[in-house]
Structures are given as C-alpha cells and as structure tokens.
Amino acid sequence: MIANLSWIFFSTLLINNFTLAMFLGLCSFFGVTTKMDTGWRLGAANTFVLVMTAVAVWVLNTFVLAQAPYLRTIAFIVVIASLVQIVEMAIKKFLPVLFRELGIYLPLITTNCAILYLALTQTTRGYGLVEGIVYALGGGLGLTLALTLMASIRERLDVADVPAMAKKMGLVLIIASCMSMAFMGFAGMGSG
C-alpha cells in the first residue's frame, strides 16, 4: 500500500511531471513565471485546487457518474469551475492577504488543463480516494517545482544580454526544453 502510494507520488512529481513531461498548464507556465514569488504561490494554489478536485471527482465517480459515464467531461468541468469559485470565496473571507497576492491567477486556475487532466486520468486509472489525493499532491508539487525553477531562471535572464531575436519566447521555450530533458533523466528511476 505504502509502496504503491509513494510510487504514484514520485512518478507524478518527477517522471511524468505535469508541466515538463505531459505539457499541461503551459499558459501559466510561460505567462506567470517572471517572478519567483508569483511562481510558487500559483503552484501552491494549483496544488490546493488539485487536491480538492481529486476528492470531488472521487465522490462524483462513486455516487453519480457510474450511471452516466458520457457526462464525464461536462460534469468535471462544471465541478472544477464551481470548486475554484468556492475556493476563491473562502480565501477571500478567511485569508484576505493571500487573496490579494494571488489576484487574477486564482480564477484562471479553472482553465488550467492540469486540473481537468487529473480528473480524467484519475477516472481512467480507477484510483480510490487516498490514491487520488496522493496523485493530486504529486502533480501539484510537480507543477510548483517546475514553476519555481522556471521563474528563478527567468529572473536571471532579465539581467542577461539576450540576442534580439530570442527576446520574446524563443529562449524561454529552449530553456524549457533543457529542463524537460533533465527531468527525462528521472525515467530510469522506476526500473532500479
């Protein structure tokens, strides 16, 4: 049980990293990662929503969607959208400081494909409640890791002398490619 759970956690965190290996949540990965602070804060908010989604999806799958599997995509997206709304309201009420810091990134989590991806794969892999939560934690921390690393590299890039043709996105994408290559090294972990 523990071995299985830790395998789920580490493989989602490193080997199948949501951002660098599965190409999920790239909009925020490229859009928000100009400062390290916003990078890891957005990652933390994402992780929170991912865990909540995992619980909600488990409830939906066990009690509702067994009768109507064709409604999956619609049900998931509605649940995710309302969940983000509730989380937003709760944070606004109880943690106003954090709410101001996150700003627009909070509602934008709805359209982060990592959340819907988690809901869908959790269903197809048949994860239970605990497995789902561990999966969400691994994925969320993986996102946070990628966002923080990228943001810290881009903070250094600000002061570097970059050729004009690479100024916009070219260089950032090639850096992402190098990071993704580095993360591919973890793929050997499973066989060891």
Partner: protein, 227 residues
C-alpha cells in the same frame, strides 16, 4: 430592400460594448490563419500544440476535432448571444463547449479508435483549450452567426496549420517518416529526442526563434529604408 430600410435594420441591432469593428467576411476568416494565428502569434493552445504533435496524423486528428468544436460552439454561442445573461456567460460558454467536445470525443472513439487512443485525454481536454473560450468571449458572443463562423473556421484552420507544421517536422526528424511512410529510407538514424517531450519544446522554441529572426530582419530593412 431600400437603403433606408437597411440602415434602420442595422440601427435596430443592439450595440454590444467591445464588439469587433465590422469588416468583410474573408478578413474575419483570414485573420485567424495569418495575422492573428492562435499558436504562433497569440500563443494560445500551446498545450495540445506540443503534447500531441509527435506524429502528423495526431496533428491532423486534433486539428479536425478542434475545428469541429470551435465552429459549432461559435455558431451556437452567436445564435444565443441575446439570450445568454452577461453575468453567467462564461459558465454557459464552457457548458456549450463541453457538450460539443463530448460529441467529438464519442464520435472519435466510435470511428477512429486508434487515433482516440493515441490522443488519449487530450480530446476531452479541448474543453480547456483557451482558443475556443477566447474566441467565444472576444468574438462569437458579440457578432452575427456568419461572422462568428468565418472567424471560427479561420482560427481553427490556423491552429491546424500550426499543429501540422510542428508535427510534420517532429515526425520527419524524429522517425524519418511522414504519416507512417518512410521518407529518408532505412539508413536514416532517427533523432528519437524529437518525438519525446523535450523535442516538443525545442521545435516550438526553434520556430519562435525563426519568427523572431524574421521580424528583426524586417525591422532592420525598414530602418534602412527610412535612413
């Protein structure tokens, strides 16, 4: 119909704040392919553009599914634009989009099971493709159905073209094949790196570099002319 009648009919149309200025249909169509290409210029929908673009067939299938969802949802949203209350428009758009995505997902599972398997969760993930919600919010919710459809077709084809360029390059270099047919012959040593995840980032990065080089060159030329 006389000219006067036309003017009154146009005046009767409620003025939507932030609606795009009127222009010929072909311009609405063409903008999505060239000047406002969703992937290359607006940098939307990057996730599917890199995630499934290791084979040309995947690019084509994904492009077709996205065009279907984009056109159908744009048409429906444009038809319902006076009925949908502004406060809940985003939720309504998402529901409409999710419905068409479910249709295309089920059709793909039934008729193209192999393609559906390789694309995996990325077909249902069309729901959260920012191109579609972006077009609904910026365009389809504010204009007449014909214009919304022209725009959706343009954006969809622009997305598909970008997807096909990336996936053709990656498949060609990464496996020496195109649509499953060998191009470089049996002696070609495949550059496997390109069909793995880092290759996606690299291809996209190279593309942006080429585009940056092109615009810099244009700028230098213009400066030369001015001097």
């Amino acid at each position: 119909m006389t000219t006067e009648a036309l003017t009154t009919a146009e005046a009767a149309e409620p003025i939507v704040p932030g609606a795009p200025p009127p222009q010929p249909l072909w311009l609405d169509f063409w903008r999505g392919i060239a000047d406002d290409n969703p992937v290359m210029i607006q940098m939307l929908g990057l996730c599917p553009a890199m995630a499934i673009s290791n084979q040309l067939a995947n690019g084509l299938g994904m492009g077709a599914a996205t065009i279907f969802v984009l056109v159908c949802s744009s048409l429906l949203i444009s038809l319902l634009r006076s009925v949908i209350p502004t406060e809940v428009r985003l939720a309504t758009y998402i529901l409409i989009i999710a419905t068409f995505v479910t249709i295309s997902d089920l059709v793909m599972q039934a008729y193209f099971p192999l393609l559906s398997k390789t694309l995996g969760p990325f077909v249902p993930l069309i729901v959260v493709n920012c191109i579609i919600l972006g077009r609904a919010e910026a365009f389809a919710g504010k204009v007449k159905p014909m214009r919304a459809m022209a725009d959706a077709f343009g954006m969809g084809i622009g997305f598909t073209l970008a997807l096909c360029t990336i996936s053709a390059f990656r498949e060609l270099v990464g496996s020496g094949m195109l649509l499953g047919y060998s191009i470089f012959g049996p002696n070609y040593e495949p550059w496997v790196f390109m069909i793995m995840p880092p290759g996606g980032f690299l291809t996209m990065g190279l593309m942006f570099l080429v585009m940056g080089w092109w615009s810099e060159r244009k700028k230098a030329k213009l400066a030369g002319v001015a001097a």
